[in-house]
């Protein structure tokens, strides 16, 4: 089927996997969406886009940018055309992520206890001890069910032949899941009937699975343990997500100032006195959790929280110190970890990664710098990256001198083109680069992944950076049941 209407002049870049098109023809899973879009006049599509914006705004699905003393509400840009993942693609993704997460959990237990993997020389010891997110405070600390990563957001990208690669592991406080849920709600409103017609799997289970897992971690054997979600507060850009999750799970949303530690137990201050807290799903970074142990100037944390944690009187989700496992220099070793702990071959590949701390690899990267992306090992949000193919001589030189200061803190990867998906931009359908972040939940009964995820879009033409802080948007992500 060849399109003639709004998809006309849809330019698929060479050497790029387009999610919807293959040699000018629409891929079968997308035919339903393509037919539907072709029936709708352009001004009708504009209205739908307008409606989507209005819905986000009135529901407060926003983040606030503070400038000149007043807050301005912004919405995270949403592209109305859904991204589709077929049942067979999802099968690989699901199995691959479960395998990876299983290994990463074993790795965290290992590095904070016996350190077999270091002693056996699989992961270099100096890499662990030079990682700023490796926390000695976690050494020998027993966590419930040996689970460190309860919630993971693992980012995937697709190369030019459609193969999925793992781009990075987010094992600390991954965000974006509320957009997975809200984007779906918006699609239901703007495209009535389209979701059931296409056999799309539901994502609404996420909060109940998470809640069930959180309850099961309670150190106290009580029928109704107190679970709270710890937020940095209303000024945090992910605040909307915190309130959404708290509401959908029916748990208390607390700030650091609502909690107090007494005799190694955590309590919240309520209108009827102190009430003991059993499980904390925290969205506050390690460094700010407890001013007595970490950053002493933190106003967001709770003094004494780590002592209660060490005593086993409170469960913290995700565990403290997970940053050592999603460090970009450790990332290189995840395939070896899978082999070491599980004796399996990795189902999902890593993007080839060079350690700049290694002299040979450093040399290789610098001679091929035009084909490389250089990143900080502990960076996130798309900050502090160098895109070799697009950078000027001057930028490269400046970045090089930055790298020289401490090469351990940098890695390089060959530029991967990322797959494109059609986006509705300024009345035209245009290809834009995308990635995928499914959310995996790890509980005592195993790992569950809600069929869906957050598809991030680099809305700027030609851009390869999908982070929301760098002009990225998102799409509703459909996983098909057949």
């Amino acid at each position: 089927m060849k399109d003639t209407t709004i998809f006309e002049h849809y330019p698929v870049s060479p050497q790029t996997w387009d999610e919807m098109y293959e040699k000018g023809y629409v891929r079968t899973p997308y035919s339903g969406v393509s037919n539907f879009l072709n029936q709708i006049p352009v001004d009708e599509l504009n209205k739908k886009e307008e409606l989507a914006k209005k819905l986000f705004m009135s529901q407060g699905v926003t983040f606030t940018v503070y400038s000149s003393g007043e807050g301005i509400e912004k919405i995270f840009p949403f592209d109305i055309i859904p991204r589709i993942i077929t049942a067979s693609e999802w099968d690989i993704i699901e199995r691959g992520i479960k395998q990876r997460l299983k290994a990463l959990n074993l790795f965290l237990k290992d590095v904070y206890n016996d350190q077999f993997i270091l002693k056996d020389g699989i992961v270099p010891m100096e890499l662990i001890y030079s990682c700023p997110h490796y926390l000695r405070e976690m050494h020998g600390l027993k966590v419930p069910f040996d689970i460190y990563v309860h919630i993971a957001g693992i980012d995937l990208i697709r190369d030019h032949d459609g193969t999925f690669y793992i781009l990075e592991d987010n094992l600390r406080t991954p965000s974006g899941v509320s957009y997975m849920i809200e984007n779906r709600e918006i699609t239901k409103r703007i495209f009535p009937d389209l979701i059931p017609q296409n056999n799309v799997r539901s994502v609404t289970e996420y909060p109940s699975i998470l809640f069930k897992n959180l309850v099961s971690l309670s150190p106290r054997q009580v029928s109704n343990p107190t679970v709270v979600l710890l937020t940095p507060g209303i000024y945090n850009s992910a605040y909307f997500e915190h309130t959404t999750l708290a509401r959908l799970m029916g748990v208390e949303l607390v700030e650091g100032r609502d909690l107090v530690v007494d005799n190694h137990r955590v309590y919240m201050k309520t209108t009827s006195g102190l009430q003991q807290v059993d499980v904390i799903y925290r969205r506050v970074d390690d460094d700010f959790l407890d001013p007595l142990v970490f950053n002493p100037t933190s106003m967001l944390g709770v003094s004494g929280l780590m002592s209660a944690y060490r005593k086993g009187n409170v469960a913290i989700v995700n565990a403290v110190g997970n940053g050592v496992a999603d460090d970009k220099a450790i990332y290189t070793y995840v395939p070896e970890m899978i082999k070491y702990y599980l004796n399996e071959d990795p189902l999902l590949k890593n993007v080839p990664t060079y350690q700049l701390g290694n002299a040979d690899e450093y040399k290789h990267v610098m001679t091929n710098i035009n084909k490389m992306v250089i990143k900080k090992t502990n960076g996130s949000g798309g900050y502090g990256m160098l895109m070799g193919h697009a950078a000027s001589e001057k930028e490269i030189d400046e970045y090089k001198s930055e790298v020289e200061k401490d090469p351990r803190q940098f890695i390089a990867q060959p530029t991967i083109s990322l797959s494109t998906a059609p986006c509705y931009i300024n009345g035209k359908i245009q290809p834009r680069r995308i990635d995928l972040r499914p959310f995996a939940l790890c509980g005592p009964k195993g790992i569950e992944i809600v069929p869906g995820g957050l598809t991030r879009v680099a809305l700027r033409e030609g851009s390869l950076v999908v982070n929301s802080s760098q002009g990225g948007g998102s799409k509703d992500t459909w996983v098909l049941s057949v």
Binding site: S58, A246, T271
Partner: protein, 311 residues
């Protein structure tokens, strides 16, 4: 419930109640200002609802446009509708897991409505009454959404305690300023149009017509706004409701704190119940209202100490 959450709900509700009071006051006074500009002054409204000093009031009290701009959209005025709604919504935003999604959306939409450029333009160059009506309606939507969707639990109790305390304070303030402004005493009949507008501004006109047959008299107006339990803005009605919602918190808090605050509310309620126009005249209206006001603020402070303290 978290103390911080109770605090936020209480203030969210107080700000909304104040917004409603301000908007109604502005609407009727604006109508009055178009009626008889020679005698009309915004002074009483500004005295009740702003922190301006006498000189600043003098500057703006004859210009309806200036007053409307200041009281509705001025971000620097801590008591403008804009500020009230921003604060109320900010409070709601931090307790979204304790109010219904409908209620949050209602407040969020109110906030976006306030920030809409078109609203400002309509207020300044088109018809202010239309704007005020729209805002009053958005406020009614808040009341209705609360009534229909909110669970009958602790959250609603704190919201209602805030609402009725705010209403009681407003009623007392408005009476005090209005009686002073008109130099009214309880014996002499007064200019009727001004009382008519006053009753309308507190939504008490129809009730008055049905309750009193002898025209507009200061003593009847005072009787209605203080004692009439069928009039939803009367002091006694507000106190009865406040006590009713406070009593529902009995199981939530350690008994001694509850008893302490309950005692204060009950004492004040009894004082109103066993007062009449004669006993008020004996101490003087202004003194009487001042004492009531002091007691109301004391209740607010006790709530803060016993229930909302978290830092």
């Amino acid at each position: 419930m978290l103390s911080r959450v109770a605090d936020s709900l209480y203030w969210m509700s107080r700000y909304m109640e104040r917004t409603d009071g301000i908007l109604r006051m502005l609407k009727i006074n604006y109508a009055s200002s178009q009626d008889d500009i020679t005698k009309f002054t915004w002074r009483p409204v500004l005295q009740v609802f702003s922190y301006l000093d006498e000189d600043q009031i003098e500057v703006m009290n004859r210009s309806s446009k200036t007053v409307l701009k200041y009281m509705v959209v001025d971000k620097d005025n801590p008591n403008s509708v804009m500020t009230m709604i921003t604060k109320s919504r900010e409070n709601a935003r931090s307790v979204q897991d304790h109010i219904t999604k409908d209620l949050w959306q209602c407040l969020n939409e109110f906030y976006h409505l306030m920030r809409d450029e078109r609203l400002y333009r309509s207020l300044m160059v088109e018809d202010p009454v239309t704007v005020l009506d729209t805002l009053i309606k958005q406020g009614l939507l808040y009341y209705g959404t609360t009534e229909v969707t909110m669970a009958r639990g602790e959250s609603l109790c704190f919201m209602n305690i805030g609402k009725y305390l705010e209403r009681a304070i407003q009623t007392v303030d408005i009476l005090d300023v209005k009686f002073r402004d008109l130099s009214a005493d309880l014996e002499t009949p007064m200019d009727t149009t001004s009382w008519k507008y006053f009753l309308q501004s507190i939504s008490g006109y129809e009730v008055y017509l049905r309750s009193y047959r002898s025209g507009f008299e200061a003593r009847n107006i005072l009787d209605q706004t203080l004692f009439n339990v069928n009039f939803p803005r009367s002091l006694q009605y507000s106190l009865i409701l406040m006590q009713r919602y406070f009593e529902r918190l009995k199981n939530q808090q350690s008994l001694s704190s509850h008893e302490e605050v309950n005692f204060m509310i009950g004492k004040l309620k009894s004082r109103i119940q066993y007062s009449n126009l004669q006993t008020i005249a004996d101490v003087g209206l202004h003194t009487f209202l001042n004492e009531i006001n002091r007691d109301l603020y004391a209740i607010g402070n006790a709530l803060s100490q016993k229930y909302f303290a978290y830092s």
